[in-house]
Symmetry: C2
Subunit: 355 residues, 2 copies
């Protein structure tokens, strides 16, 4: 173990300064009511001893930790395998760093660890939380509610549209992309190319982003043959499996809209394996514009671009603004301005060779 | 903001139970000396109100958070780009989860954020820290010392061999691979193949792992032409740059030992670009046996295997064992057993097609 047995204590500072423990505590926590000569003596003792105030104690007073937790509702293996999360974290990290707030990423092996995450969030270690990749029936929102930490979600949470009935005064705040609109654009583009048997590789349908993209697909393909829809899981392997199913069921399909680029990359591999030319025989569109994936597929992928890094940055910005507002509310009640509200970012179709 | 205005307080519990605040506090913190009927009343009130004790307050008493910080001395972009870190985190995550301890990954944009990391570590939010990828003159060890948290390092820290002179009683504990021995095996293998102009693409020489691998190279190539050594940075792009330098300086080289697989993958690309056949013209060996990288290079990579996930697991295990020991020392002084000490894991040469 690497540690100092000799980390200076509050008592040592009090002894050095010749004042009481309570006086040191008041000075360290910035309280009023200590005479200037005493303040000076305490400050000198703090400096001489290299005393670091115990922030667990101090944060009981100030209630600020300058730290924000990030919770991704996926096992850590998935967090590191899918570049989507790295991009979102990049935006979050930049924004938190600009405000000198520490990014605290809480990793788990799976759902059975969420109670522990809830305890950490309730433990007074962070000012707020950024939570993303929630699934239907996810225990996390309930645990976060119990922990009582201000939270901004990445992606519209599944429980309902916008607010939780129990607490109308504290609406759920989230940042999302226009998943449904983006999906519509993709499928309209395929139809515009003259494709008539358009298939969809959906994401996991316990996530709102996957449901919204499927809804966008159905908005355009109103009477879609249900055999033209297969559920994937946002991974390349899931895209391969779904593409095989679709080809087996509907060998005459002439287009595929995949719910994300990783699934599309798997679909492209299977199409090549089965001797289908892209885009001549089957046109393919993904979602995300995840680089370098979308540029390095063969052929390069036409896809729906969402600004993932910007989503992360916005989540952090909304949370910090909310925390600041709370601080101001404590001080002067009526200058706090409007509370942060949810943001849905637009998407754009990026044309490459696959459709 | 998503939060509960109505999180029940200690005061509310005291009022409901008809006891003092101090009594509630003693019961919640498991202190002795409260009469059983009162304990029962407090417990019932806690349950009825759904009171969650403030762990910041409680941890002042128990000094346990069931959480361990992981600090990687690299910007977050690098953490997510290099699969080495994901593997080490996988081992750490598995081990911590098995002990119901929360993995708290503290991400940064760079060195200028380390003071903030130090504040978080000092803030009483974690029981200990796992720190890896330290660089020479890294401010982190000093900040960690100041924070006073038990720490295990991944990779031998650079400041000296094993102990810090100021605190002989608390030796530095680290987990490392036999970098020098592994490098010797690789270079001996190249020499055994009859190669005489063996080059080395080093890692960043402000890290002990890179220095040790270079030393291993020199152990075998005692009179190596200094032009046969180029410094990389453990990335594919760095490997490409170094390989170009080496070919420009020594077009007659017939083998390359790269300090890691990612650098070797870059070197292979440049060799192909310059029309050198591997292994016929130039034999190539990497370090790590990072999968799938080492298997997917063209040709597949001969490399020195180190068990990265196991290193992570061991780091976590040593830290938890040390924390447990400290707990027991507080109770009974002489049953604590030997303190954890550093571990250096063996490496093995894995032969594929490149050498």
């Amino acid at each position: 173990m690497t540690e100092t047995a000799s980390r200076p204590t509050l008592e040592a500072v009090a002894a050095r300064a010749g004042v009481s423990r309570a006086t040191v505590s008041r000075v360290v926590n910035g309280s009023e009511g200590v005479r200037e000569p005493l303040v000076e003596r305490v400050r000198r003792a703090v400096e001489e001893l290299g005393y670091v105030p115990n922030q667990a104690a101090r944060s009981l007073v100030t209630r600020r930790h300058d730290a924000v937790a990030v919770v991704i509702a996926e096992p850590e293996t998935r967090v590191f395998a899918d570049p989507f999360f790295a991009l979102q974290l990049r935006g979050i990290s930049k924004e938190l760093t600009a405000h000198d707030s520490q990014l605290v990423l809480l990793l788990t092996e799976g759902r059975e660890d969420y109670a522990r995450v809830g305890r950490y969030l309730a433990g007074g270690h962070v000012d707020g939380a950024l939570v993303f990749s929630l699934h239907l029936d996810d225990p996390l929102p309930g645990l976060i509610r119990g922990a009582g930490v201000p939270t901004v979600f990445g992606g519209r949470p599944g429980w309902q549209d916008g607010t939780r009935s129990a607490e109308p005064a504290t609406p759920t705040v989230y940042v999302d992309s226009d998943n449904r609109g983006g999906a519509r654009d993709a499928v309209r583009h395929l139809v515009g190319l003259g494709r008539v048997r358009v298939a969809h590789i959906a994401g996991p349908l316990d996530q709102t982003s996957a449901v919204d993209r499927l809804d966008g697909f159905r908005d355009v393909m109103v009477d879609a043959d249900p055999r033209l829809i297969a559920e994937g899981d946002f991974t390349p392997a899931g895209g391969e499996r779904a593409m095989r199913e679709l080809l087996d069921r509907c060998p005459d399909l002439d287009a595929v809209f995949a719910a994300n680029d990783l699934a599309a990359s798997g679909a492209l591999r299977v199409l090549r394996e089965r001797g289908r030319r892209v885009p001549e025989d089957v046109a393919v569109i993904g979602f995300d514009d995840m680089l370098p994936v979308a540029e390095q597929t063969d052929p390069p992928l036409t896809t729906v671009r969402q600004d993932i890094e910007e989503m992360g940055r916005l989540m952090a910005r909304l949370l910090l603004r909310g925390l600041e507002r709370r601080g101001r509310e404590d001080a002067v009640e009526d200058i706090a301005g409007a509370p942060p509200s949810s943001v849905v970012l637009p998407t754009t179709l990026v044309r490459r060779a696959s459709a």
